[in-house]
Symmetry: D2
Subunit: 389 residues, 4 copies
Amino acid sequence: MAITGRNEALEGPIRLGMVGGGKDAFIGGVHRIAARIDGKFNLIAGALSSTPERALESGLALGLAEDRIYSSYKEMAIREARLKNGIEAVAIVTPNHVHMDAAREFLKRGIHVICDKPLTHTLTDAKKLVKSAEASDALFVLTHNYTGYPMIRQAREMIASGALGKIRLVQVEYAQDWLAEAADPDNKQAAWRTDPTKSGAGGSTGDIGTHAFNLASFVSGLEVETLCADLQAFVPGRQVDDNAHVMLRYEGGARGMLWCSQVAVGNENGLRLRIYGEKGGLEWAQEDPNYLWYTPFGEAKRLLTRGGAGTGAAAARVSRIPAGHPEGYLEGFATIYSEAAEAILAKRAGKDVPSEVVFPTVQDGLKGVQFIDACVRSSARDSAWVKFA
Amino acid sequence: MAITGRNEALEGPIRLGMVGGGKDAFIGGVHRIAARIDGKFNLIAGALSSTPERALESGLALGLAEDRIYSSYKEMAIREARLKNGIEAVAIVTPNHVHMDAAREFLKRGIHVICDKPLTHTLTDAKKLVKSAEASDALFVLTHNYTGYPMIRQAREMIASGALGKIRLVQVEYAQDWLAEAADPDNKQAAWRTDPTKSGAGGSTGDIGTHAFNLASFVSGLEVETLCADLQAFVPGRQVDDNAHVMLRYEGGARGMLWCSQVAVGNENGLRLRIYGEKGGLEWAQEDPNYLWYTPFGEAKRLLTRGGAGTGAAAARVSRIPAGHPEGYLEGFATIYSEAAEAILAKRAGKDVPSEVVFPTVQDGLKGVQFIDACVRSSARDSAWVKFA
Amino acid sequence: MAITGRNEALEGPIRLGMVGGGKDAFIGGVHRIAARIDGKFNLIAGALSSTPERALESGLALGLAEDRIYSSYKEMAIREARLKNGIEAVAIVTPNHVHMDAAREFLKRGIHVICDKPLTHTLTDAKKLVKSAEASDALFVLTHNYTGYPMIRQAREMIASGALGKIRLVQVEYAQDWLAEAADPDNKQAAWRTDPTKSGAGGSTGDIGTHAFNLASFVSGLEVETLCADLQAFVPGRQVDDNAHVMLRYEGGARGMLWCSQVAVGNENGLRLRIYGEKGGLEWAQEDPNYLWYTPFGEAKRLLTRGGAGTGAAAARVSRIPAGHPEGYLEGFATIYSEAAEAILAKRAGKDVPSEVVFPTVQDGLKGVQFIDACVRSSARDSAWVKFA
Amino acid sequence: MAITGRNEALEGPIRLGMVGGGKDAFIGGVHRIAARIDGKFNLIAGALSSTPERALESGLALGLAEDRIYSSYKEMAIREARLKNGIEAVAIVTPNHVHMDAAREFLKRGIHVICDKPLTHTLTDAKKLVKSAEASDALFVLTHNYTGYPMIRQAREMIASGALGKIRLVQVEYAQDWLAEAADPDNKQAAWRTDPTKSGAGGSTGDIGTHAFNLASFVSGLEVETLCADLQAFVPGRQVDDNAHVMLRYEGGARGMLWCSQVAVGNENGLRLRIYGEKGGLEWAQEDPNYLWYTPFGEAKRLLTRGGAGTGAAAARVSRIPAGHPEGYLEGFATIYSEAAEAILAKRAGKDVPSEVVFPTVQDGLKGVQFIDACVRSSARDSAWVKFA
């Protein structure tokens, strides 16, 4: 470990709006902290709720000027696009079923979109949104935030460099227990996440399975060809899966397993990824994100640490402080915002987005929705192997 | 923790023979240590190899009298059965394809059998052996040694007592890496374990998958109804699976996943079991066997330790030393021998085997071979759900 | 774990200046992120370096207006105090020997001071600074950042509530290895930290020992009465200690040990605290800060997690995201800034600082310098027990 | 990991007697298992208690012939020395104050002694016993059993080979909590261990501190020159220390800390050793004994495992099973017996003890008693630095 500084170069910060994320929301607050950490955004407008009073109250609490507080994302998109100092980017942090409509309003006006996952609540919507994003000059950034962890970047870099040889196995899991019982009707987070009209056909598959699925591909560099799923709703009356067992076959012959669960008692946010190749293995767990276990075949296991010996440029790029000073979930999330900012600033300057800037895109979002869809279809067909539709 | 003693009551030790386990064998030596730890057996005869010189050399090295060293298990069974002080029990530690024939020679002469797993190399043999065992007065003990770990007994007792409520999920895995490359032809262990004529149709499924499968049922108290498997031989030229992904459906609605692999680089002997019920969760890992993680739903996770606070009678029965003094693999294995000894001594005394004495039986062995068979059949049918045959 | 939101209430942010922290500095950047995370400060002025060009370059990179960039902290204090929208608070992040003079310039003009630790490089200075702080209406906040970790707050609350009974033992250590070899002369961080004219008489004792010492008292609620130290400079030519062994006697009869080292190879930032009372024990490690191990005597060890079951109000107050989503070093540091902000906003509003707002003060800073001084004196007297001077 | 066998070569087993270790004793049972594991001893005689009925009952329970059961160790020594097939070695597992007298009875008759630690309850006795041992042809083996762990042998070998460079720091601790409250008068283990007339002047220092002290020297290869101690009896009425803080100065300039405690709530048997040199660091914990953490300076930390990659001959010599199959406390203890057996068999054959055979000797025992004595003297002199007397 060396104690060294890291210099900032804060160009004029990016003017940011937000859709959703009003009072009591969970992920909206996370996005706001993430946007602040590296100082590259200023939140100046918001349609934080579709209820006017709630939108106003929430906006004022965040220090927004009253005339930049909206109760309609459409109104916000229209007006902000016309303002001289209108927002350059918008964060969409609503329940899933709102993503597509909201995003399209901004995309078509050239406002960059930073959108929470999963991309949409239906596959049809996802495909429409892909078209809209592709038709727009604006960027579309999906906040698969776990891709922002430095040791995830490290793992990805190692695999891309061949350190593991040809990949054979991808074992990924995401276990929680917060839905182990029927949700309290007052719990808004639980309510919409288990309502298929808002979250989509996937429950745990959509809420957390997509993260696991995305992370496995992000790190391994591999795409799933077919999958075979057994979905279950253990809690009586639940309309979406709260547990999913999935077997995966990747292009090139690698195999995998994905388990996601929201009823695995004793698991808080247990996203864990293990990848094994002909020459080595890697293991990482989200709850201890500064560590990456690396075993070159036939040698002792090594504990790589963020900022520590044996780590490379990809991790260092997105790391803020020295080894032994743990970075967490918010910093990983902030990295998605920082990557977005790098891309937006390049756009602003009329330059290409630098090649080292990496963030999940609308295409990754589509794959996530295809993953949910494939899980649901396979499970309905007695766990037949299915391709992405 | 309390530092307290544990008294021994060594009745006349049981006269033991061994089939297999000659020079350079792995598991034979493990059986011998296991038999010695609690002082309840005396090894006095052996057919340690079918090669006479090797049998003799191996027997002498173990201190056997020359006239109790055999090169044929059949000869040993016949002669020992006639001797006044002949063996009372035999440990069979050969490659799998020999188990059935050897076991039957002893069973039919009333000599108790302690047999390594998997039970046999074919399902046909397994069923025959079940009949032989059932027809015999002698005991049949299968060394699924992991069932001997105190914290496994603890987990089993907790689940049986309802501490976890109705079980929903059984996640079990057994990952190794010692076959990640084509085995050296000089490695006898690797050679027979990857030769289907000796090990059977399952590779990793037979060698380690059966352990995982057995342990999951032993602890959960649940039986698998159907399974769906994707088997793979990653190493070119390998004739049996070296990796298996399996989804499980248990009686009563629980679901599970089983992963076994011998190519997961960085894993030495990674048998890990996690069981989740409506009211709690348990997690255990073989490489750290003195720990059991227990989370009652809505409470903090607890680290139960062998001999420590919060552990019960089932674990204490099979524990030798106080908390904080780790017991290991050999002690767990020894417990199988001690349980066998308890049962044999009861038989010797004309008593019933005490109800608290627990060991894997020939029926468990049959289930293990059925598991291998079902995995192979399901995988051949594109991962269809199959029942045990 | 429950996934729930946490609402922000961003009043007009506090206008902040910074002394030190120019290009290539380490801790200045940390302070800036910490100040941003909760959105309660705006950095608007800086005397980031005493070299004018460097000050200018660093200020511009941070987006400061050119007329708010200074190369003299005195000039900054004078001018900002006169401005209508001048800074309300200043962060002092220079090497230790500058702290006192800089702080006094702001304190005497009623500008709140947030100062890095240790308080000063000499005990004489520390005492002077205490007087200045006491004579000022402005607040003095010392960034013993580790006190901002939620699980440290949890531990403190548990001990204060009597959960551990009377405290017997305080074992604290802070091990690093970055100075295991003679520092590269180009390493500015290493250079001033091993130069007694800049860092003070303590090396590891000052740089990290003070953190350990402070944290032990913060959590235990106990003050050291006497200590006995054995200091060593292992690296040839080093003028300050790079390792310290210290025995502690606390008021009320508790005993402790403190070890700090910058030559313990394999340790990155190993601050670890263990406290044992008559009724229970607690264990915490900075590198895994979201966990707190709690053992009530005679019960199983429990793993308390940030946001998880069994944690209380003190931790929740300073926690941002749900359990299982790790918070890190920067969030803990940000909590010091947030606590400072709460106090400053109360002052601004003419109110008392709320009683739940907790941060290290100038008095804590004095104790830290007394600790260094006592270690040096004891070690010079062959490890005699000494009191604080 | 390779799955390979390990061959036994059981020469005629050594005839063993035991002094102490009757019904309800703790350490006697441990010695018996340890003696059995590798099959090199036969327990054939015992003076298991000084109470005749208890001696008889205990002996019969262990399967001893009635004429080899004694209630006086002296009688046993005299008679066994005369028998043709009398014992060759004796295990002395009584409370400390009996060690010297018992050992001398056997030593003077040429019977090898395997004695529990600490060597004696007084320094005077220890010195006498050294003389007796030196005057005898018989071997004296002290069961500092933790030296038998394979990864301890590994650490020792690495340091001896220079892998860590010159040693700077030795941090050792041994924390328990079983005496956190006044002991139940019925607890025999607690009773004699806190009675200075039986255990000696040291409480925790004698019972566990000696283990820590011995292990630190065994691994580091260094001898303590002076120490400085602060002893405490936290439990009211306790006559011996239940906690000790000790600073150590080793020959050649290394420094160390030793902490032992029997009141650290939440610690079961927390013996932990960390050694840091100029070129690397090692960390080991008794409760997870199959792991050794090794950091070469400037490289990633490596997890060495018993039997795993990167381990050498010294560990392999005393290891029984492959990596990933945990060995525990009993196996480590058994290694002391196996080493003793190797030495005894060499003696029996008129050969030199092979140089690779390593076990703690009477000299190590003397150092342990000197350590206790020095701690007590230093503490009485207000933690002055003292030499061994």
